[in-house]
Amino acid sequence: MSDKPGLLAAKAPSSLGSYVVEVNLKPEFADAAGLTALRMLHDAGIAAARGVRVGRLYDLRGPLNLGHVHVAVRELLCDCVTQEFRLCHGAAAASPNSAERWRVEVWLKPAVADTAAESVRAALGDLGMPEVAVRCGLAYHIAAKCGRGQLDKAVARSLANPSIHLILVHEDR
């Protein structure tokens, strides 16, 4: 799982933009979804998990530039009071055998309908954006000193479901 597999049916030509935006709750706000995820990880055997924050991922592809992405983030994807965002850049982080902080991306498999993405696409159109392909995912930031294999297994049993999800596990920077 070193490289992210193509999430969209067709690979975007290089002239088109491809961006992944991650939106997280600002650190000053309690993350209820993170607490639920933490409990699930404990259940699944990661006793060492100390904390989880959950972010949302948006994979946007199409004839769009950075300006478009910033409008999309400001007007739609990121709530200016409660959330903050960052753009994820191509180079995948290391995926070592053990680490203290992990970042787990969970995406729906291409064959599974992504209903949230349909809403995003329509709302982007309303903002006057060009037609883009969208996929939505989740990013779990997990503070847990544990082995990679152990985490892989626990995530597949709790936070995600391999029958519908693609799961990418990396060290968190």
Partner: protein, 258 residues
């Protein structure tokens, strides 16, 4: 006397519009359930109405945060909304409608052009459907509260109802402006934690109004308590209260009748 015209604004995913319109009718108003696309297409006009109600539901599925897309739609397609509020016409946002009003920046301070408050998931991490005790701000100039007792009960039903503010200082402004319209309290009227405060809102805030008092947004559902038979305890002999939620609608109607 002419019945005030009430716009019950609908969008894809709105689902409390029927009972909200019913409450408007019983309060003496003339509600119309209108899809936002109709206004967008110019086939209905906000300014033709005396009162605007944004009912609860999951507008546009709420996948991007509750009320976010509806808020964008309001900003993009109902340009007269700010004017409507400035003219002092009553605006009531319930649950999802409240969330949308906050995200348009109309609440808590209608003059602000940007959003100053927001919502996050309930502290419990769960959707919460339960009845709550609420204390009304008797200092507030909110036109919807006329004649209401200080303590009332209403049901809430939401997963993303924890109100948060951009800064602690803002809370002082809200207090000063008397914008905190309702707070979640325990049955003896004290500020208390879960489950009295079902979502963990800052300062137990359940509802906000603008300083002028004509725009109110609340997480609880007044349209679900317009008859005593909707209260969970109506079968108990000690129970006497009538449907207090109806009074909010009646106050808006009476206000328009002058």
């Amino acid at each position: 006397m002419k019945k005030p015209r009430i716009l019950v604004l609908r969008a894809a995913g709105t689902n409390c519009d029927l009972e909200t319109a019913d409450a408007c009718t019983q309060a003496g108003g003339a509600p119309e359930r209108v899809h936002i696309d109709l206004i967008r297409a110019g086939r209905a006009r906000l300014m033709d109405y005396d009162i605007l109600v944004l009912p609860g539901g999951y507008s546009y599925g709420d996948d991007l945060g509750a009320g976010r897309i509806l808020a964008n739609q309001l900003k993009l397609h109902i340009k007269e909304l700010r004017n409507f509020v400035r003219l002092g016409r009553p605006v009531l946002g319930i649950s999802n409608g409240f969330q949308a009003l906050v995200k348009t920046g109309l609440l808590p301070v209608a003059h602000a052009s940007e959003q100053t408050a927001g919502f996050t998931a309930n502290d419990s991490g769960l959707f919460e459907a339960r009845w709550v005790h609420l204390r009304l701000n008797t200092q507030s100039s909110c036109l919807f509260f006329k004649g209401l007792p200080e303590m009332i009960e209403l049901p809430v039903a939401h997963g993303e109802g924890k109100l948060v503010l951009r800064s602690p200082r803002q809370l002082e402004d809200l207090k000063k402006n008397k914008s905190i319209a309702m707070q979640y309290v325990s049955d003896d009227g004290k500020l208390a934690g879960y489950p009295a405060n079902p979502n963990g809102s800052v300062f137990n805030i359940a509802a906000l109004s603008n300083p002028e008092g004509n725009c109110l947004g609340l997480m609880p559902h007044p349209e679900r308590y317009i008859s005593k038979f909707q209260h969970p305890n109506w079968t108990r002999q000690t129970f006497v209260k009538a449907g207090v939620g109806l009074e909010l609608f009646r106050n808006a109607v009476d206000y328009c009748r002058g």
